[in-house]
């Protein structure tokens, strides 16, 4: 039947070659470079001295830096829970009640998903800063006498992460709720379950792959994010991303920065791998 079959292997590889060459040169090899760097040390002029030492890894998890890692996971974790609390009802509403306007509702979520994260984060500075929208409004109303410290706090960082990653949570949730067979919901209600019970015993379990996919897609970039803590945070809200940035751009300890980057990636890739083995990759992409 298939006339291409004879040389299909060759043709396919030729067509894939440019992409694979590009990804090898500009993704795989660079990752190998930081892997090698991560066992090295910092030279006198900020250059990387290659070597084989695990000291960068022990340093990453030392009492000095461990809090940064824990904080990153904590902030990302809280933000993930918040996006779930905001995103699940949103996805549920669009999937079940969206009707003819479904696409409009979705586009309104996808636009922020694809537009500049930097600018969306910046917009919170305009709102939260001392002369910002909230402080100006509240003092005009006479509610406060002096400005509130809203910016550069754990609050503003978690808020920024929640805001930034809400679409990342909502879209996979929607994808799995959309697939849900609505007659199952009716069946549950006909059998006497109230809406809460239907939600807990039917909808939620069936949308679990979407919940896990959304959680990963939110949590992963949130842990490694540096734009949000950099713009909305302060010295006591440092996250892994900030430390990686400092090591590469100001402290010039690339070896340590590489070890942090590699640890971050390894932890997250293991998480994804476990997820895909259990649930399949369908809802993730």
């Amino acid at each position: 039947m298939d006339r291409f079959r004879g040389h299909s292997f060759l043709v396919a590889n030729v067509l894939l070659a440019p992409t694979m060459l590009w990804l090898t040169l500009f993704l795989v090899l660079p990752l190998l470079v930081i892997f090698v760097y991560s066992f090295g040390g910092r030279g006198a002029y900020g250059e990387v001295e290659l070597g084989f030492s695990l000291s960068n890894y022990t340093k990453a998890f030392s009492p000095l830096w461990l809090p940064v890692i824990l904080r990153s996971f904590a902030f990302a974790g809280i933000a993930t829970v918040l996006t779930l609390a905001l995103g699940y009802p949103l996805a549920y509403f669009i999937a079940i009640y969206g009707g003819a306007k479904k696409n409009i509702f979705l586009i309104l979520i996808m636009l922020p998903f694809w537009t500049s994260y930097l600018i969306r984060t910046y917009s919170w500075i305009v709102i939260l800063r001392t002369e910002g929208v909230i402080n100006t409004s509240l003092s005009w109303l006479g509610v406060i006498s002096g400005p509130l410290d809203l910016l550069n706090t754990p609050f503003s960082v978690v808020l920024g992460l929640t805001y930034g990653f809400l679409p990342f949570m909502t879209l996979p949730l929607y994808a799995s709720l959309e697939k849900l067979d609505k007659s199952l919901l009716e069946a549950a209600q006909d059998l006497g379950a109230n809406r809460l019970w239907t939600l807990l015993r039917v909808t939620l379990p069936l949308s679990l792959p979407g919940v896990v996919a959304g959680t990963l897609l939110t949590f992963i970039p949130a842990v490694g994010d540096f734009v949000t803590p950099d713009l909305l945070g302060g010295p006591d809200t440092l996250m892994i991303g900030n430390v990686i940035q400092q090591q590469f751009l100001s402290a010039r300890d690339w070896a340590y920065g590489s070890a942090l980057s590699f640890s971050l990636m390894a932890i997250l890739l293991v998480g994804i791998f476990l997820y895909v083995r259990k649930m399949g990759s369908e809802d993730l992409m």
């Binding site: 299909s8 292997f9 043709v11 396919a12 590889n13 067509l15 894939l16 440019p18 992409t19 694979m20 590009w22 990804l23 500009f26 993704l27 660079p30 470079v33 930081i34 905001l86 549920y92 009640y97 696409n103 979705l106 586009i107 979520i109 996808m110 636009l111 922020p112 694809w114 537009t115 500049s116 994260y117 930097l118 600018i119 969306r120 910046y122 917009s123 919170w124 500075i125 305009v126 709102i127 002369e131 929208v133 805001y163 879209l171 929607y174 809406r195 970039p221 540096f226 734009v227 713009l231 991303g241 990686i244 940035q245 590469f248 920065g257 980057s261 971050l264 997250l268 994804i272 992409m285």
Partner: protein
């Protein structure tokens, strides 16, 4: 029965209100940016009257225009490269089943799941290890590396609806393999390629993190310019640039989705 339906409606009313609040949360900051980009006050958040002054100042702001020019150069070249390579790869992955295709499929997802900052510092380290100094060219190379996968995913979604009998028919009618591709397969792929290209352009245009680590000296793009301006403090000009960038990206995205929808794919599947 009747009572149950009424019960449902009141429940949905609570849900509707909640959803309205979530949408308000999503868009309030953007509305604020738009509003204050027209506010006739340099310092604070109180409304002082309508002005288009900040947009006017942008048009005469040399460094901002230079940054915009860099952004456009990078995005245009990187989009062409990523789209051509990505379309070829997507064609190969959907058209042929062969040993190792699973590995290729996996490789394509790596740029999509790897934390952006790790991608950024790895590229910086790679260029450093290879002794390549940073320039607009290295930025283009870096952008292509993260854009290809998005193009592949979108073109592949389009290809999944392709009826191979059309190719068979063309070849039965005497077309050779290359003519078949050019006259039958490529026109079918075209909407996916255009939509993927537009999306890739937006990703490049808006990219901050990877650009931040690989820009070197003097290769400022618009997002980098915004970042450095923000570091000096909030100004109405930043609001105006922001509104420009959001509008520009949104228009391209809407165009991309429109093309995908017209070619028979629902909006939901376009995203990845």
């Amino acid at each position: 029965m009747k009572r149950k339906r009424k019960d449902q409606r009141t429940k949905a009313k609570g849900l509707r209100a909640y959803v309205a609040l979530v949408y308000a949360f999503l868009f309030a900051p953007i509305v604020v940016l738009v509003l204050f980009s027209f506010n006739d006050s340099r310092r604070n958040a109180a409304w002082q009257g309508f002005t288009t002054r900040w947009y006017g100042e942008l048009i005469n702001d040399g460094p901002v225009l230079d940054a915009l020019a860099n952004t456009m150069k990078i995005a245009l070249v990187a989009t062409v490269l990523a789209t051509v390579m990505g379309a070829l790869a997507a064609y190969a992955l959907t058209r042929y089943r062969f040993r190792g295709s699973g590995l290729y499929n996996g490789a394509i997802y790596v740029p999509l799941v790897i934390p952006e900052i790790v991608f950024g510092v790895a590229l910086l380290s790679g260029f450093n290890a290879a002794g390549v100094s940073l320039s607009l060219q290295t930025l283009i190379v870096a952008h292509v590396a993260f854009m290809i996968s998005f193009v592949i995913v979108i073109v592949r979604a389009r290809m999944s609806g392709f009826d191979r009998a059309l190719e068979e028919a063309a070849m039965d009618l005497g077309a050779n393999e290359f003519q078949t591709f050019l006259l039958v397969t490529l026109p079918f792929m075209a909407p996916g390629i255009i939509a993927g290209g537009l999306l890739a352009f937006v990703l490049s245009f808006d990219d901050f993190v990877i650009t931040f680590f690989n820009s070197g000296v003097g290769n400022t793009t618009l997002p980098l310019k915004v970042y450095s301006m923000v570091k000096f403090g909030v100004t109405p000009e930043i609001n105006a640039i922001s509104v420009f960038m959001l509008t520009f990206s949104s228009l391209l995205l809407l165009l991309s989705w429109r093309i995908q929808r017209q070619s028979g794919k629902p909006v939901v599947t376009d995203e990845e």
